[in-house]
């Protein structure tokens, strides 16, 4: 399915881009994390979270066509 990926902070740096529209054979956040970890090796070493349509998503979250999926490193606000 088509997903609109967004990368931030050190993950954007590791991915070499801030966003990408991709076609991926994944149906859940857990599956997406597996694929992303293979593509972006940095993700093996750091804590990261996935947000789907601007809300933090658990591994069980089901992905839908054209979702906005953000890959977020640790927060550092304040």
């Amino acid at each position: 399915m088509t997903l609109r990926l967004k990368y931030f902070g050190m993950i954007a740096e590791a991915a070499g881009t801030q966003e990408a529209t991709v076609d991926m054979a994944v149906s859940s956040v857990e599956e997406l994390k597996c694929v992303l970890t293979q593509d972006i090796r940095k993700l093996v070493d750091i804590n990261f979270q996935i947000a789907v349509n601007q809300s933090i998503a658990q591994d069980s979250c089901v992905l839908n066509e054209n979702d906005e999926v953000a890959v977020l490193p640790g927060f550092a606000g304040g």
């Binding site: 967004k6 931030f8 902070g9 050190m10 804590n47 947000a51 601007q54 809300s55 953000a70 977020l72 490193p73 640790g74 927060f75 550092a76 606000g77 304040g78």
Partner: protein, 155 residues
Amino acid sequence: MTAERSKVKKPKPALFDGCISAQKIANSIAGHQTKTRIGAHDIFLGQVRADKIDGKLVAAIEYTAYREMAEKEFHAIRERAFGSFDLTCAHIYHSLGRLKVGEICLFVFTSSVRRYDAMEACRYIVEEIKTKVPVFAREIFEDQSYQWKENTAAK
């Protein structure tokens, strides 16, 4: 009272570019002097700290954000604070971009009739911002090298 509450609760952006000046903070305090039901304010100011890491001194922090989600989270945190505490006002301002050490990057301003709610809500909002809002930062050293920063538990 109801009209005033709904007015102050209307979503407005918390993120903006550049540091928070002392003048902005002073103006914000002055702006509340007409709200005479308020008996207590609490303010939290986050300041960019010159940490020394592996012998190198931090000179600045560069903030970026997942802007749309961050604004939603700031708004949700503020709504929860209004739900949990008896607040008259709550304001949150967070900087983006490059801030030098000593500059103010976060300004949380809560007001209530008596001190308890303003003080507890201010702490609540700050702790929520640290863990729930997708803001990212890298510490830039004096030699222009950098490292990515991550919030630690409250202390």
